[in-house]
């Protein structure tokens, strides 16, 4: 089946991100396809490229990137939710006249319309809230 995940919890603060990553690995292991993880609300903080958790804790940003590298899962971050929270890629940073950036590939900033499309076009959309 074609799955999508909607993640709305901040990393480290809530279990949501860990639950979502664990669920993603389990469904892929069962032979399903995971189209996209969509990050909304505080879930967008999962895309922070400078995250530096202690070495003995799971590194969520790398975990998501690995899903992309190994299984082609796209990582879509709601742009409106992200900009408010200080998450922007190089293109948005230059558009806002800021130096530096806090989001990088494979995460991509996108509109909320993508979420509605995913919800209606995938066989299953599973939400992980805070």
């Amino acid at each position: 089946m074609r799955y999508a995940i909607l993640l709305m919890g901040a990393p480290y603060s809530d279990q949501a991100s860990h639950s979502a990553l664990r669920f993603a690995r389990a469904l892929l292991a069962r032979g399903h396809r995971l189209e996209t993880v969509f990050f909304y609300h505080d879930g967008v903080y999962n895309a922070a490229r400078l995250a530096a958790p202690p070495q003995d804790e799971p590194h969520l940003v790398d975990g998501w990137a690995a899903l992309n590298a190994e299984h082609g899962v796209t990582l879509q971050v709601c742009i409106a939710a992200a900009l408010r929270r200080g998450l922007m890629d190089e293109r948005e940073a230059s558009r806002h006249g800021k130096s530096g950036y806090s989001v990088e590939a494979p995460f991509e900033l996108t509109g909320l319309g993508q979420l509605i499309d995913l919800g209606l076009q995938c066989d299953r959309l599973v939400t992980f809230g805070p």
Binding site: M1, A26, F128
Partner: protein, 96 residues
Amino acid sequence: MKLHIVNCAPDAGRVVQQALSAMTTDDRLLLIEDGVQGALPSLVDGFSGIEGRLYVLREDLEARGLMSRHDDRVTVVDVDGFVTLTEQAEQTLSWY
């Protein structure tokens, strides 16, 4: 049949009641994260009316030291079972 997913403790507000009120008589409910507290014998009565359709995630019970403490009327599934439940349901709804 839909799968409802609850990740909140029974004490964390009216989330459980909201999930229950949105369930039809063949829907299922899965407790994950802090929601697994609801499987404790002293709290499981909060789910009366959905006997046989109440599930709890093994990994989250284990991490909290609750694996041997849950009520027998709750069905324990691991994360593979979680995926299976989503396969069997037409849709999932999350209550958080």
